[in-house]
Structure formats: C-alpha cells, structure tokens
Amino acid sequence: MGTETLYDISLTVNGVVREARVPARRLLSDCLRHDLGLTGTHVGCEHGVCGCCTVLLDGEPVRSCLTFAVSVDGHEITTIEGLAAPDGTLSAVQRAFAESHALQCGFCTPGFLCTVTALLNENPAPSDEEILEGISGNLCRCTGYQNIIKAVRRAAELSAEQERDGTGEAAPAATGAAGAPRASGATGGATGE
C-alpha cells in the first residue's frame, strides 16, 4: 500500500498541538499509539466492545478504535496521559482507582479512567444506577467491577472535597491539563502494556 495517500493532521492532545501524517484509514487509537507515541491508550477488541481505547474527544468519551484520526483533525483529545496534573499529581479519579484497588492488571484502566472522568464532569454525584450505566461500555476481566464502582463513588467524594477546599486544579480534567505528555501507565500500579 505504498501508494496510499497521506494526510497531514493536527490534534491538540492533552493540551499540546501534535502533528501527524497518516493514511485515511489510520484509527485514532493507532495514531495516538504509533504516530504520537502515547501508548497509554490501550487497544483491546478493535471493534468497540471492550472500551479500553476510550479517550475524550472535545471532552466527551469516544472509542478511539472506532474513529479515524483524519476525521478528528483539528479537535482536542485527552488521553490517560493527560489526566494527572503537569507535576504528576493524580486526578481525583486516578487517586480513587488507586485507593480503592479498582485495577489489577491495568489493561482496561485507561479506558475506565477516561470514561469515569467524563461521567463525573457531566454528573458530579451519580447514583449507583447511573454509575453502572456510565461504565457499562467498559469491560474488566480482573476486578469483578465492585471496586471500580467503589472507586467511582470515591472519586465523586474526592472531587466534591476538592471543590469545597478550592483546590480545583486536581479536579477531573475536562479537556486535559497542559504539559508534556508522559509515558503510559499514569496510574500507579498499572502494568502499562
């Protein structure tokens, strides 16, 4: 496929403008991982079932494996690498997942963290039913989900506390904190790949 047309695209990823030259068929998940080196976004099923590749597109969670990179040229993307503050302080959602033992192998975790970050941005105090509905599109084969549900409740508490204390900078990021993208496994304990 050496003759495939390549497109120059520009994405604002975690607050940083990134350029890439991609064929039209390059999935956003592969663009992030291969072209931009952001391997924190994991690729599981590649047909939209597992939720591991979930990233935020203009603040809303989407499947990066069901999105062509060229389609979202010019848009803002937040990946797992962009959830923590620039100094490495974990976001409320990341802290809650670590504290609540909401991950074991860590493969599904980037997708869960992006999904839950957006869920709590939209609905800061979700009911248990809303939590279940919110994470229903993400599969985890380790935890049995109970600790993930606890972590979402805990993240809601932490965000509310931060809100009260006026330390809003560590609240869930809407469109990604600025700063240089870091390597994968932003949540302590995740095994990355």
């Binding site: 496929m1 068929r25 590649e46 047909h47 939720g51 069901l66 062509f68 060229v70 229903s136 599109g137």
Partner: protein
C-alpha cells in the same frame, strides 16, 4: 483488525458531498458516526472503495422539534437527541429507545440517521421510525430531494431504499398524538448488546381513557422491523387492559424470528409476546397519565 485502504473525501457542504457521491456511485459509502461502519471495516466485512466523511458538514448537525414532530439531521449524535428536552416533549419514544442503543460512549459518536440507514433488524431506531410512520429524506446531486416513508425504506437486513449516489440528510419522527403514550422494552444477554428481541409500543386513548389505537414494532424477529397493529385486539378496552394474552398471541403470530447462536426462534417469539405486553401496558399507563 485494521480497516482496508480507501479513498477519503471530507466535503464541507451537502452540495459537495452529493457531487462526490454521484461520482463514486456504488463505490461510495457515507461515514457519519462510524459506530457500525468502522467495526465492519476493522473486521474486513466491509471495504468501501471511497469513503465520504460528512463529519465536517455542520449544516447536517441539526435537531428540530415542533408540533409536527422531530427532524434529526444526518450528523446529530444519539447523545444529543437523547438529551434534548424539546425532543422528549414532542416524541418521548426517541429517548426511551435511545437509552437501549449500545453504551453511552457509543452514543456520543453514533448518529440517529446513520443507525436508520444501516437498517440492522435488531437496532432500535429503525423500529421507532417504522412504528411512528416517520420518513427519511434522501438527497442526490442534480435531483430534487425525496422523502421515503419508513414502510418503504427498510427492505431487508442491512438493506434500505437508499440508492448509490444518495445521501440521507435527515429523518422525521411524527410528534406524539394527543392522549398517547409510548414505551420501549427489550431483552439483551448483556447490557448494551443487541437485543434478542425488543418491542416499541404506541397507545392512543380517547377521552374516556379507552384504547383507540395500539401498535407495536418488534426488533430482532424479522428481516426488517415488524409493525403489528393490535387496535382490533384492544378494541376500545380501558387503558389498564392494553396488555392481554390475546394481544401477545397476535404479536407472536406476526413475527418471523430465526434461530442463531444467541437464542432459538421459539424463545425469541416467546420473548416478543412478553415484551409486547410489557411495552403496551407501560405505553397505556403513560397515555392515561399524559
């Protein structure tokens, strides 16, 4: 699990899109939300030679609701329609059905018109359009737009009346008539998966709260959504008796389920009867409280 190569077009206006589609003919395929098309491409079940990405055509990202009904443009995402209070007020069945469409994250990207054009017999929105007697507006380069009624739009599994060179620009869902209620019930093995069977119901009552019309549309149990008018079986009975064994039997008789790995045809037929009763009961309740 990577899509095959294709020629990519990203028009910025409907006119430009129609020109490209006219030129592409049967080789052209429209990309909107991509939540059905891209999985098919990733699995190499679909390999369109030319992809026309309509995501930059802002003019198609519209949802309007008035006394006549709800018109949804080709780029309106499921989530937008689901969250719209104006839509829920004019035609509550849309929100009721959309809550069953995949998962919230998929609904952020997938489009209502895309789901209709995809014409999956297990999908919710084709049944909603069929039950309500809605229409799909199709545009073509150099020709007037045509408005195709739902009854003529769904031809078979994944097959619609959309011709090569055409773009579905919007779908129209008629408003809920006065004294009416709707409901959508389905059963899936796993939350968010395609349903084994599902039923959308519409019940209209007269001033004495007796049933004047009762209709259901069934999914997953035929090549296209199966619309069954059970007004005769309900025969001006009070709203509270919308669901009955006779109604369930009438619906079961009309569907044509098939066996597959997920369920037998008989089980699907049974489920459809049960779901028809549930959906009709709920729709009648909502109609009487409306």
């Amino acid at each position: 699990m990577k899509p095959p190569p294709f020629d990519y077009h990203a028009p910025r206006t409907v006119g430009e899109a129609l020109e490209v589609l006219a030129d592409a003919g049967p080789e052209g395929k429209v990309l909107a939300g991509g939540q059905s098309l891209i999985p098919l491409m990733n699995m190499r079940l679909a390999a369109p030679a030319r992809l026309v990405d309509i995501n930059r055509i802002g003019a198609l990202d519209t949802v309007t609701a008035d006394a006549r009904g709800v018109r949804v443009g080709a780029l309106a995402r499921h989530a937008t329609v689901e969250r719209s209070a104006a839509v829920a007020e004019r035609q509550p069945l849309l929100r009721q059905a959309l809550r069953h469409v995949a998962h919230p994250v998929i609904r952020n990207r997938g489009t209502v018109v895309g789901s209709i054009v995809h014409a999956d017999p297990a999908a919710e929105l084709p049944a909603v359009l069929a039950l309500l007697g809605g229409t799909v507006r199709l545009a073509r380069h150099g020709a007037p737009e045509r408005e195709v009624p739902a009854a003529e739009f769904f031809l078979g599994p994944l097959e619609s009346a959309l011709q090569p060179g055409e773009l579905a620009v919007s779908a129209f869902f008629p408003a809920l008539p006065p004294g009416s209620g709707t409901a959508f019930c389905e059963i899936a093995r796993r939350h968010g998966d395609f349903a084994l069977a599902g039923v959308a119901a519409l019940v209209t009552l007269d001033d004495d709260l007796r049933i004047t019309t009762a209709k259901v549309a069934c999914i997953g149990v035929g090549p296209v959504p199966v619309v069954v008018d059970v007004s005769a079986e309900c025969a001006r009975r009070p709203a509270a008796s919308a669901a009955s064994p006779a109604v369930a039997a009438a619906v079961r008789d009309r569907v044509e389920p098939e066996d597959d790995i997920h369920a037998t045809a008989e089980y699907r037929r049974h489920l459809t009867g049960v779901l028809a009763e549930r959906a009709l009961r709920l729709a009648a309740e909502r109609a009487s409280h409306g």
